[in-house]
Symmetry: C2
Subunit: 207 residues, 2 copies
């Protein structure tokens, strides 16, 4: 029978480097903080602020941004429910690789579907934590940084999360932040406090 190379011809290559060895090099364990929420909730801004704060403290942190990935890895995908799921499937795999490399990864993706976020959690296990940025739809719509809510309300935009496409809120996130009531500094501090409480990074001594 003639065939093509297939799944059976793949061989898993186990690395020789343990997570503990990577943690010893980097000075901390790996983690994935998965920021989810509506467009305008402040996911990218918070991810970048936490990333910068951690790197300034010597932590190997890295932010993955939904828009940036849609300009590169996921440039072939649109915004249909199937493409949104594939988008999140791929970025979850990328997050897993970065976590495997030892980084503290800050993910900023709307990731509207619970099933997709649960899949990401399964991929990363104990390293994964869901951070729900929840200023409320009204506040996101008031901010409307890209003018997309206005277009969606006018009926000019299909498949826009929160208006013409569903957002399934997390039921048990590790952390929930009202980024409408909190300043960016307060949200950043809340995430850092959470990381410190989990022992993932050292509490800043201020010394």
């Amino acid at each position: 029978m003639t065939g093509k190379p297939g799944k059976d011809d793949l061989k898993w290559h186990e690395g020789q480097v343990s997570p503990d060895q990577r943690a010893a090099v980097l000075g901390h364990q790996a983690a994935c903080l998965w920021l989810t929420g509506l467009s305008g909730a402040g996911k990218s801004t918070l991810a970048r602020a936490v990333e910068a704060t951690l790197v300034a403290r010597g932590v190997h942190a890295y932010a993955l941004d939904g828009d940036n990935l849609r300009m590169g890895l996921n440039r072939d995908l649109g915004f249909s429910p199937a493409d949104r799921s594939e988008n999140i499937r791929r970025v979850a795999e990328v997050s897993r690789l970065l976590v495997d490399s030892g980084a503290i990864v800050l993910c900023a993706f709307i990731s509207p579907f619970r099933r997709d976020r649960d899949h990401a959690r399964q991929l990363m296990g104990e390293c994964f934590a869901e951070v729900f940025l929840n200023p409320g739809l009204d506040e996101c719509e008031r901010r409307d940084p890209k003018g997309l809510y206005a277009r969606a309300r006018r009926g000019d935009l299909d498949e826009f999360t929160g208006i013409s496409s569903p957002y399934e809120a997390p039921t048990a996130p590790e952390l929930e932040l009202d980024t409408g009531a909190m300043t960016l500094d307060e949200s950043t501090a809340a995430v850092l406090n959470w990381l410190e409480a989990k022992g993932l990074v050292d509490a800043e001594t201020g010394a």
Copy 2:
């Protein structure tokens, strides 16, 4: 006009962390060593050996393996020329993210098409170096670790690189290794010497 969210609605979020800041945290610059060659040339084995040696020296190194990625991120892709190109497009984007995070990335992909490797080089610029593992087809076929050459020679396997699908050898790789004549230790040392000569990692003092 009713529309859907599209490319025009994406916004590039620039990070606040510079490559120099990451290098200061990690102690070295980032790089991508792109190992290319036929099945059986020893790409995964060498990538893992270099990774382990570097991590043991305190370097933040990470190996990306073709088969492993085909079990995760690229599980939806097969081995047609179009799927092979998409496979390499995605792994090049992932490599770029890891390089952006500050890692020294060891890529182990057959990556048979010159155009796809050149695209990876363009994505990563000065950080990119092509390492051609070239023990020769005869030696790869003699090793045949997965029994795939035998199947391809019997006509039982279409689209197998080197036999029923082309391999376009690099014309100007940064490093070429005859992994048929060299031991794994010798190949590993050659890669490390190259990294040291480029100033990417410190020469081991033996002290």
